[in-house]
């Protein structure tokens, strides 16, 4: 699902900042190169230095420093480069938007990395519809992209985990594998493999042209550059917006036209993220890792979901937890059995059917799941459930007493 962009814009009150990734949309290759100039050719050292000094971090969610990731591939003689646009996350559509409306920027970034790192195979992994339309068209428009192979990503939450991406590229089911070894040590057919989010690749394409200093002219020292955010929920204009790093929660909501009604919290960082209450103090918090640490949230892949005040936070959290539990790949025991158990307890609580020991029981279950799987799915889901209990602790008490603040009549728990 892609939300249309009413007006792609970088928004920061008082210090306007121009869009970068979304500056040139729907350009064919001729217009793309006319606007941005040709793609520079960089040596391996130059690429790593540029990425490192720009401070660019991975935009797929984990925020790993791109310079360090690229540097770990320097010693490899042959590498494989994969652009990852499998968002899995229902609330994220920025990677699909990039492929649909700025595919040449993504291709630039992948070709740049492959060229510098001796990548002999290049893959672009993403939703099949967008690969078959805009990406195929873009690849056909340029000579240098004719070796890029397009691989369809299944619409599943875990299909974007880097080990799952490596599996899919090899024609196997897109399921996560055990880590270590990391994909940059041993990925496709045992070759060191760069799995790079497509937004990260697009940034790299611009940094290669304009430099690290230019990149840092937007954003803050901690979160340099710009970042795509998918803002949804109770906002006037849900969509994808480009904001400078460190923009506030308020900026993200304002970019999407402001609240559509009274809000109570934002889910920041997506379904594996954390809730941040919406009040005059917290709404000024920057979208940065350090500012959101207390909420166990991070900008992640740029997902922001606005929860209206009239909805029950436990109901919202239980719905997300149930979805995530259903998305477990069934490979690792603790995740396979633990997530549905924990989601069911949270569901009972949301329905007002839980007993007084529900907090203890959930805590025990979550400790039996946290960190115990091949990929980050169990830990991410545990984080979401803990954040739900913490943020809506008052609601937990009300539910235990048979009430719900979202219900019109006390004593009636509404779905």
């Amino acid at each position: 699902m892609i939300t249309e962009l009413p007006e792609p814009a970088v928004h920061r009150p008082g210090s306007p900042c121009r869009p970068r990734l979304l500056a040139t949309l729907d350009a064919d290759y001729v217009e793309h190169t006319a606007r941005l100039g040709p793609l520079p050719v960089l040596g391996p050292r130059d690429l790593v230095d540029l990425a490192a000094s720009s401070g660019l971090t991975g935009r797929g969610g984990a925020a790993f420093p791109t310079g360090r990731k690229l540097a770990s591939l320097l010693t490899a003689r042959r590498t494989v480069v994969i652009g990852n646009a499998a968002e899995g996350e229902p609330a994220s559509s920025k990677d699909e938007l990039l492929l649909r409306r700025a595919p040449h920027l993504v291709l630039d970034g992948l070709l740049l990395a492959a060229q510098a790192l001796g990548g002999q195979e290049i893959y672009l992994y993403g939703p099949s519809a967008v690969l078959a339309s805009s990406v195929r068209r873009a690849v056909a428009e340029r000579e240098d992209a004719r070796f890029v192979r397009l691989v369809a990503a299944p619409d599943a939450f875990v299909s974007g985990q880097d080990t799952a991406v490596v599996q899919a590229v090899q024609g196997r089911p897109a399921l996560p594998r055990t880590n270590p070894p990391a994909t940059y040590v041993s990925g496709v057919r045992g070759l060191p493999t760069l799995v790079q989010n497509v937004e990260t690749a697009a940034h790299l394409a611009l940094i290669a042209r304009y430099g690290a200093y230019w990149f840092r002219q937007a954003g803050t020292d901690e979160e340099p550059g710009t970042r795509l955010h998918t803002v949804s929920g109770a906002v006037r204009h849900p969509g994808v917006y480009e904001l400078p790093g460190g923009a506030s929660l308020d900026d993200a909501v304002a970019a999407a036209g402001g609240p559509a009604e009274a809000l109570q919290a934002l889910l920041v960082g997506g379904y594996h993220g954390g809730w941040v209450p919406w009040d005059p103090i917290t709404r000024a918090l920057p979208l940065s890792r350090s500012a959101l640490r207390d909420y166990d949230a991070a900008p992640g892949a740029g997902v922001v979901i606005a929860l209206p005040a009239r909805r029950c936070g436990l109901r919202a959290g239980a719905d997300v937890a149930a979805y995530l539990a259903g998305q477990n790949a069934g490979q690792c025991g603790p995740c396979r059995y633990g997530l549905p158990s924990a989601a069911a307890v949270l569901e009972r609580l949301a329905e007002g059917r839980a007993g007084p020991r529900v907090r203890t029981e959930l805590d025990r279950l979550l400790r039996m799941v946290d960190g115990r799987g091949a990929c980050s799915h169990p830990s991410g889901t545990v984080r979401l459930i803990r954040s739900t209990l913490r943020t809506f602790h008052g609601e937990v008490d009300r539910h235990l007493a048979g009430h719900c603040s979202a219900a019109p009549v006390p004593g009636e728990v509404r779905r």
């Binding site: 770990s72 055990t178 270590p180 490979q331 025991g333 633990g338 400790r367």
Partner: protein, 84 residues
């Protein structure tokens, strides 16, 4: 060098040999999978349990256990036993 016990969760089927051989380090969870008693997903193996840990690695019928060196756990490519 300090080593940590790593469970390959995709291989593990909860056969339970490991927590029988390493009761100080592991117990069974609700579903029969090994649960670290320290709370860390990859518990440190104390020197006095080193031999027991190596036994557990050898005896796991699913070959789901490994000992990882504390340094650079992600960069080392452990030598895996061949699949049965």
């Amino acid at each position: 060098m300090t080593q940590r016990l790593h469970v390959d969760w995709i291989r593990c089927r909860g056969r339970g040999i490991c927590y029988e051989l390493l009761p100080e380090l592991l117990e069974a969870d609700d579903w029969g999978y090994p649960l670290s008693r320290t709370g860390e997903p990859r518990p440190v193996v104390p020197a006095r349990l080193q031999e027991d840990a190596e036994d557990a690695v050898r005896e796991c019928p699913r070959m789901a256990l490994r000992l990882l060196d504390e340094q650079e756990p992600a960069r080392r490519r452990p030598v895996l036993p061949k699949r049965p």
